[in-house]
Structure formats: C-alpha cells, structure tokens
C-alpha cells in the first residue's frame, strides 16, 4: 500500500524529512536479495565466512542499501522518477544489525520538477554508515 502523499513538485518543501525507513537487513532477507540479484557471496550471507575474511560479520551488499534508498523515495513519492542515487559507503553495514535510513529534501527546482534528497543510513549508535544524494523528478 502506498504511503505517498507527494504528487507534484509543489507538494515538496525544502528541508522536509521523508518518513524514516527501517530496512530489513536480517540474514534471511539479505540471503533472499543476494540470490535474486545474483550477488550471492558468503561475505554477505554467512557471518562466519565473513569473519574468516577479516570482516566484522556478514555485510549488507551495497546494491541492497541503494535499493533501500530507492524504496524509501518511492514510499514517499510513488510517482517520482529517480534519476540517480549517488552513494558513498563510509563504513560497513552489518547483517542482522538495526539501521535507520533518513532522508531530507535539500534542493528544489520547481520549474523543472527536480528535487535533491540527502539520504543517510545510520546504525544503532546513530553513526553514518552510508550516505548519498538522490536526484529525482516529480511532475510539475
């Protein structure tokens, strides 16, 4: 079911926060994603295998984090065209941890329907793990 109430660029205000999103990064869900995306490597789906590679545990694939970013945008504005999600991976996102994704509108071009959104994935301690900016287009 859509949670969206953003139909056009006129509905968007600078600084508005998108509803926070809690991605399901449980080992089961990550396994499902890894298989579906043909990105099925033990470092993503097996904590022990990841640790044997020197990692702190299994990692959420970067493309999965990007997918959550896209999902968050579409839950907020289901008619948005996502032009790009420029992502910076600052620190590993661990499988089975609890993360929150925040998003805020940081630029609006009302004439062309362009909106820029800051996206930040935080861990339980409020530390940034992944951040980025999305460029989307909304109907004028």
């Amino acid at each position: 079911m859509s949670e969206s109430n953003i139909a056009t660029v006129a509905d968007v205000e600078f600084g508005v926060e998108l509803p926070a999103f809690l991605p399901d990064i449980s080992i089961d869900n990550v396994k499902r994603f890894a298989v579906a995306a043909h990105w099925d490597f033990p470092r993503f789906t097996d904590h022990e295998a990841a640790r044997s590679e020197g990692l702190p545990g299994a990692l959420v694939p970067g493309i999965m984090s990007q997918g959550f970013f896209a999902a968050m945008i579409h839950r907020w504005a289901d008619g948005a065209q996502i032009n790009s999600i420029d992502t910076i991976f600052r620190a590993p996102v661990l499988v089975d941890s609890t993360c929150t994704i925040n998003g805020v509108v940081t630029d609006i071009d009302e004439d062309n329907g362009q909106v820029e959104i800051d996206l930040t994935m935080l861990n339980e301690k409020g530390e940034t793990r992944v951040f980025g900016t999305a460029q989307i287009t909304l109907p004028v």
């Binding site: 600078f14 600084g15 620190a91 940081t106 630029d107 800051d118 940034t128």
Partner: protein, 211 residues
C-alpha cells in the same frame, strides 16, 4: 562566534553539497553556526567566490583545504597562493613536517583532522612515526566520527597538550553544523581565522546527539 571548520562541497570528489544549499539548510533549520569553512580534499579552491552567497544568507564562508600526509588527513587554514606552490596539494603522500613548516612560514595553520580515525587519522600513526613536531591543534569533534574516534582524539589531545577544534566534515547538505568551533571574537576572513587559532581563543563544540 561559531564556525564549522570542516566542510566539503561539490568541489571535492566525494562532496555532494552545493554551497548555497548549505546556507539554505543552516537558515531553514536555524542551526546555531555563523558560518563554515570549505576544506576541499587535496586542493585549494582559489577560483570560487562565495562572498555574495554568504552576504545573502548572513553567513561567513571561508576557504581552506584538507591535504593528506603520512599521519593522515590535515586541515590547512589561511592558504595563500604562495603556499600552494610549496607542496603538491593533490599528493596523498605529503610529509606532515613539510605541511606544518610551509604553513607556518606562510602564515597558515595546519591541523590534523579526525585524528582518532583508523588509517587517515594521526593517532594511528604515532607508534610508527612518533609524535610529530609542530602540531598544536587537532580536531577533537568530527561530525563523521564513529565508535570511539572522537574519544581517541580527545585523549591524545589531552596527553600531548593540543588544543581542539570541531568540524562537521559534511559532504552532504544535511550534515553541516554537526560540530563546530566557538571563537571568542568575530572571525570575518581567513586571516582572522588563523589569528584566532594561533591565539588559542576557541573551543570545540558538538551538536551531535549522544548515542
């Protein structure tokens, strides 16, 4: 006066924020800072002039640089054209001693940033290279710090007698102003910033929520 001493714009390879949007954000969110310093990675942005944007929003926008040394990353404030000829700002292998010496000779200040961070912070390299000569100030609050990185920086500063600054290390708009530095006097330009830093008339502050 509160200045965020560590921010990156789209001029940095990993920066995604436009300067005007930083200003718009500070005002829209009523952040308590009075301005910020753009410390672009491995360069000094001599060509951009943000004075009109600063005046429009009533904010002080200054420019510095973040260079890379064997001790990790280092902020340089008070960069002048002659200083840019002293070493290659784009290098990722600068000797910290050279950066400090050249900065002092040209009226600038070099300050190791996020010193508690693995690999790119000063504390991680002291065992190997020893305590560097000439460091007087380090960044003790960094908006991008994780785990105990700020605590490591503060412990090191206490042990070695360094003063501390704060900066957000913002790369996106909404991260500006997470940490800052409070100055006892007005700072209107890079020269006054260097004077205030050399005089020690400042303290680091953080606005990050305790985790």
């Amino acid at each position: 006066m509160l200045l965020d001493l560590h921010a990156h714009s789209v001029k940095s390879d990993d920066g995604r924020a436009k300067v005007a949007n930083y200003c718009q954000w500070i005002k829209a969110k009523e952040l308590p800072i009075d301005g910020f310093v753009l410390t672009e990675h491995r360069q000094f942005d001599d060509e951009s002039d943000y004075s009109d944007i600063g005046a429009k929003f009533g904010l002080t926008i200054l420019k510095g640089s973040e260079v890379e040394t064997e001790y990790g990353h280092v902020l340089v404030f008070g960069v002048t054209e002659p200083l840019t000829r002293e070493f290659d700002f784009a290098s990722i292998h600068l000797p910290l001693a050279q950066v400090i010496e050249a900065s002092e000779r040209h009226g600038a200040v070099a300050i190791p940033c996020h010193p508690g961070r693995p690999r790119v912070g000063m504390a991680a390299h002291i065992d190997e290279f020893g305590v560097p000569v000439g460091v007087r100030i380090v960044e003790v609050y960094n908006g991008g710090s994780r785990d105990d990185e700020d605590a490591i920086a503060q412990a090191m500063a206490t042990e070695l007698g360094y003063r501390g600054i704060g900066g957000s290390d913002a790369h996106i708009v909404s991260h500006i102003g997470r940490c800052a530095t409070r100055f006892s006097q007005q700072v209107n330009n890079e020269t006054e910033l260097v004077e205030a830093l050399k005089a020690g008339e400042f303290e680091a502050v953080t606005f990050r929520e305790a985790s």
